[in-house]
């Protein structure tokens, strides 16, 4: 995998290191990243996205503490063996929770009924399976 697998928005309210960890969590749970897959180096990620390498390093460190990643001597960071794709729907849904809360709040603010929002979500997911 290369650094373009991560999508980073420096101007978002969410700190960059948290964006990276959250994406790694999702990519691993969703199976796009498999146990043993090598991650792009801190330099590659920082260089590609023009962000501070120390921020990337912090994100990798946090993902390592969380057990998502393992540091392999001479190889860099790899996806930890214990973190194969989660087959459990509940676990995977849980990762989407913060986003769903956002959508729910904004839909309420816009006074959109749940059925309308769900229909649109189904369309979006159907278009891009």
């Amino acid at each position: 995998m290369d650094a373009s697998i991560l999508s980073i928005q420096p101007t978002a309210p969410e700190p960059i290191y948290r964006q990276i960890v959250a994406q790694l969590r999702r990519l691993i749970a969703g199976g796009q990243l498999k146990a043993g897959d090598m991650l792009p180096s801190v330099r590659e990620v920082a260089g590609f996205h023009a962000i501070n390498p120390m921020t990337v390093s912090r994100a990798y460190g946090m993902a390592e503490t969380e057990g998502l990643l393992e540091r392999q001597r001479g190889k860099g960071m790899v996806v930890a063996a214990s973190h194969a794709a989660s087959t459990n729907t509940h676990d995977r849904l849980h990762l989407l929770e913060p986003r769903l809360l956002d959508v729910a709040q904004q839909a309420r603010e816009l006074e959109l009924p749940a059925a309308t929002v769900l229909r649109r979500l189904e369309q979006l997911m159907g278009e891009d399976p």
């Binding site: 420096p10 101007t11 309210p13 969410e14 960059i16 920082a46 023009a50 962000i51 501070n52 120390m54």
Partner: protein, 301 residues
């Protein structure tokens, strides 16, 4: 050069070593106008600090003060372990200041200027200079007088990086560059901090640039530093809430702005790990996280 040379203190090479820049209680006013009104600043070693502020906020005055280039009414600055008013020549060679509009040497060609610099700095790294000159597409045969302000500034940056400065102070280093070139420059600076342990202070009014590479930020507003600290921590612990105009002041409130709708927009800060003030539930107010630009606008308007 400097008769007041002070013997250099030993500097540890670890990232937890002494801070390369410590400023305490800086004050300066022009006539009745206070430009610096009690500035305290400590730069962690090997970090990139972004100094933010509106145009005219006094960022350049602060940078000049940090480097001892302007007189102060009060306060002290330590640079690389020495008082800034009495830096030894050895210490001066370990720091570099890239001004917003460097001037001088207009009668020289770029290559002549480079030769002069190479001769003046024992630490000059010619390979590094050549590499940067070609990377930034600077024509070494051009007369200095014909360089654009952006090119002139990049040439100063070549000097700063070629002497392997340990402390790099840059005043609006990217303002004359297009977005792509700006991004390249910032990337180079961030890697410099990583690879060489260089500590960097850069001022900018371009918030997006700083958000990419600054680990630390400080916002200069009305002579004081607001929002000083680690950018990630700042983002995680500030939020905006909208309240009715009658709402009393909240704990941790740092700014309040009237909205056309009649309510107020309030920015609150909390200590890391602490919850938002409980008063918010009474107003049914949801704390809204902010990017640096929104935060900047809220607290300076």
């Amino acid at each position: 050069m400097n008769a007041h040379a002070v013997s250099a203190k030993p500097v540890s090479e670890s990232t937890s070593g002494p801070s390369p820049m410590v400023a305490c209680g800086l004050r300066k006013s022009y006539a009745a106008r206070s430009v610096l009104d009690g500035i305290d600043l400590e730069l962690p070693r090997g970090s990139v600090l972004g100094l933010l502020g509106r145009n005219g906020a006094g960022k350049t005055t602060l940078l000049n003060a940090l480097l001892g280039l302007t007189s102060l009414d009060a306060g002290t600055v330590q640079v690389l372990g020495e008082p800034v008013q009495a830096l030894s020549d050895a210490t001066k060679e370990r720091l570099a200041y890239v001004m917003q509009q460097p001037a001088g040497f207009g009668w020289m060609r770029v290559d002549q200027w480079l030769a002069l610099m190479a001769g003046s700095y024992p630490r000059w790294d010619a390979m590094r200079a050549d590499h940067l000159l070609s990377r930034w597409q600077l024509d070494i045969h051009a007369p200095m007088a014909q360089l654009s302000p952006g090119e002139r500034q990049r040439l100063e940056l070549v000097r700063a990086l070629a002497i392997h400065a340990e402390l790099l102070v840059l005043d609006e280093p990217a303002s004359s560059l297009d977005p792509a070139a700006r991004r390249d420059l910032l990337r180079d600076l961030a890697f410099e901090a990583l690879d060489e342990g260089t500590s960097v202070i850069l001022s900018s009014h371009l918030v997006g640039d700083l958000e990419r590479i600054a680990g630390q930020v400080a916002l200069l507003h009305r002579g004081r530093l607001l929002l000083r600290g680690e950018l990630d921590t700042i983002k995680e612990n500030h939020a905006r809430v909208q309240l009715p105009a009658a709402a009393e002041a909240l704990p941790g409130e740092i700014s309040r702005r009237r909205l056309e709708s009649g309510g107020v927009s309030v920015v609150i800060a909390r200590a890391p790990g602490q919850p938002w003030p409980t008063q918010l539930t009474a107003w049914h107010a949801q704390p809204q996280p902010l990017g640096l630009e929104d935060l900047f606008v809220e607290v300076t308007s």
